[in-house]
């Protein structure tokens, strides 16, 4: 048979491509649930590491099923807010609904465009609120989770991750525990520009809303700084001073309402 015939070539290529596509589609649909479960457990590990539920290496040593259980045991409330700081949706507290990292990218775009965002807030036991951050590092996206104490401005813990930062340099944001531990006890200055800083010589200045950037990883540090501030700005109306006054106002309103009732 002449394998160099035009008709044969076209049909042959088409058949090969269709067969390969079928195999890949079949495998993807079979493995999809397992992959999603892995991605979800990974997100939960990072959030719970930030919230200080367990030490990071213990979380990474745990099986996926145990991680889901630990999350279910520790989460109190999960909801989404808009850029105005108002709640605009509930995230099911059950272990099934988690905002994966892949969902942070469109939210990041929404923040930058000042559009309709649904930003997740996870409230763990003892009132620890965990919020995500997302931005561009040197080679790819960087993201992370910041845990806030019940006072809404002291940082209880943090966890950062990245897709492809340089190992040994930018990758330290994830690999080196000392970097994320530096965030603990620092504060987010809601309403200030910038609300938080990654910069040089922080220890000398004693600033409470700043952390030393990583030497040799200028671009990753800059990207992370940008990510932190973009997302803190987006959450400002929810956690910041404005939110505090809104709460007072509501409180006053309800009190007057009560007074009226009494009369």
């Amino acid at each position: 048979m002449d394998t160099n015939n035009n008709v044969y070539t076209v049909i042959y290529t088409a058949v090969v491509v269709v067969v390969v596509a079928a195999v890949l589609a079949f495998v993807a649909s079979k493995l999809g649930p397992a992959q999603d479960a892995n991605a979800k457990a990974e997100t939960l590990r990072q959030m719970m590491s930030a919230a200080g539920i367990k030490p990071t290496d213990e979380l990474y040593a745990m099986k996926n099923a145990d991680i889901l259980q630990l999350y279910a045991d520790n989460i109190e409330e999960a909801y989404t807010i808009g850029l105005d700081g108002e709640k605009n949706g509930e995230l099911s507290v059950s272990k099934d609904k988690i905002e994966l990292v892949s969902k942070l990218k469109p939210q990041h775009k929404a923040i930058l465009a000042d559009g309709d965002a649904t930003l997740p807030v996870y409230i763990f036991k003892e009132g620890i609120a965990v919020i995500p951050i997302y931005g561009a590092g040197l080679w790819g996206p960087v993201w992370g989770y910041i845990a806030l104490c019940p006072d809404n401005y002291t940082i209880a813990g943090a966890f950062f991750d990245h897709e492809s930062e340089t190992p040994g340099l930018g990758a330290k944001i994830k690999d080196e525990a000392w970097f994320r531990e530096k965030f603990t006890g620092k504060t987010v200055e809601w309403g200030e520009e910038p609300a938080f800083r990654l910069e040089k010589n922080v220890e000398a200045t004693g600033a409470t809303n700043a952390v030393d950037a990583i030497t040799g990883a200028t671009m990753t540090s800059k990207g992370l700084n940008e990510a932190l501030n973009t997302w803190f700005k987006a959450y400002e109306n929810h956690f910041g001073v404005g939110a505090f006054f809104n709460m007072l106002e509501e409180h006053a309103d309800s009190e007057t309402a009560n007074d009226n009732e009494e009369e």
């Binding site: 394998t3 290529t13 495998v27 493995l31 992959q35 340089t166 040994g168």
Partner: protein, 203 residues
């Protein structure tokens, strides 16, 4: 026959090593050799891809239209790579390593060793020898990867497989972590290899 099979298996690991002798597949050898664990998974992935791609292409060798053979090979290789990537992502234990290797698993498609072996061997040989040739070339590649990663992790982080082996007083060398050092190291391996094997020396 047995002699020829032995040759097929041993040659890619020693005299015809894809990295040190043919100098193919260098890019990924520079990129994924920072840690041993990653290098090992990468090596196993490449072994699987080279072996299976060679096997499939050898099975198809008499039917592939000559004018589009590179395209057909590429489709087969791409399928194998995506399968490996999907499987790594689905395994509970391998998910973290797949994340760490990020794009480099996908880039196995462009690894010259895979296409090189299909073109040079699988299209002209029976399936079983082709499978062995593919596997052996993957092993030859993986061997160098693991050697390079051993030194880079030891000197660059003071650890092996993530366990601290050098005393805490050792200051990790940042140059070792960067890709240029891998190139220097591969250069050294080629030097040692050639010094030991007289057949590889040029006059």
């Amino acid at each position: 026959m047995a002699q020829k099979l032995k040759e097929t298996i041993l040659n890619p690991v020693l005299k015809g090593n894809p990295i040190t002798v043919l100098v193919l597949g260098i890019c990924s050898a520079l990129a994924v050799t920072v840690q041993l664990k990653g290098a090992l998974v990468m090596a196993l992935s490449v072994i699987a891809v080279t072996g299976l791609s060679s096997l499939v292409c050898s099975l198809l060798r008499n039917t592939i239209p000559n004018r589009v053979r590179i395209i057909v090979q590429l489709v087969v290789v791409a399928m194998m790579v995506i399968l490996v990537d999907q499987i790594l992502k689905a395994g509970e234990g391998t998910y973290a390593i797949d994340k760490q290797l990020s794009v480099y698993i996908g880039l196995i498609i462009t690894n010259c060793i895979v296409m090189g072996r299909i073109e040079a061997f699988a299209l002209g040989n029976k399936p079983i020898p082709s499978l062995l040739d593919g596997l052996a070339n993957g092993v030859g590649y993986g061997l160098i990867l693991v050697i390079v990663a051993f030194f880079r992790e030891l000197l660059g982080s003071g650890t092996l497989f993530g366990f601290q082996v050098l005393p805490a007083a050792y200051v990790p060398n940042n140059l070792v972590i960067l890709p240029p050092f891998a190139l220097i190291l591969i250069g050294c391996i080629i030097w040692v290899h050639r010094a030991l094997d007289k057949d590889l020396q040029e006059n």
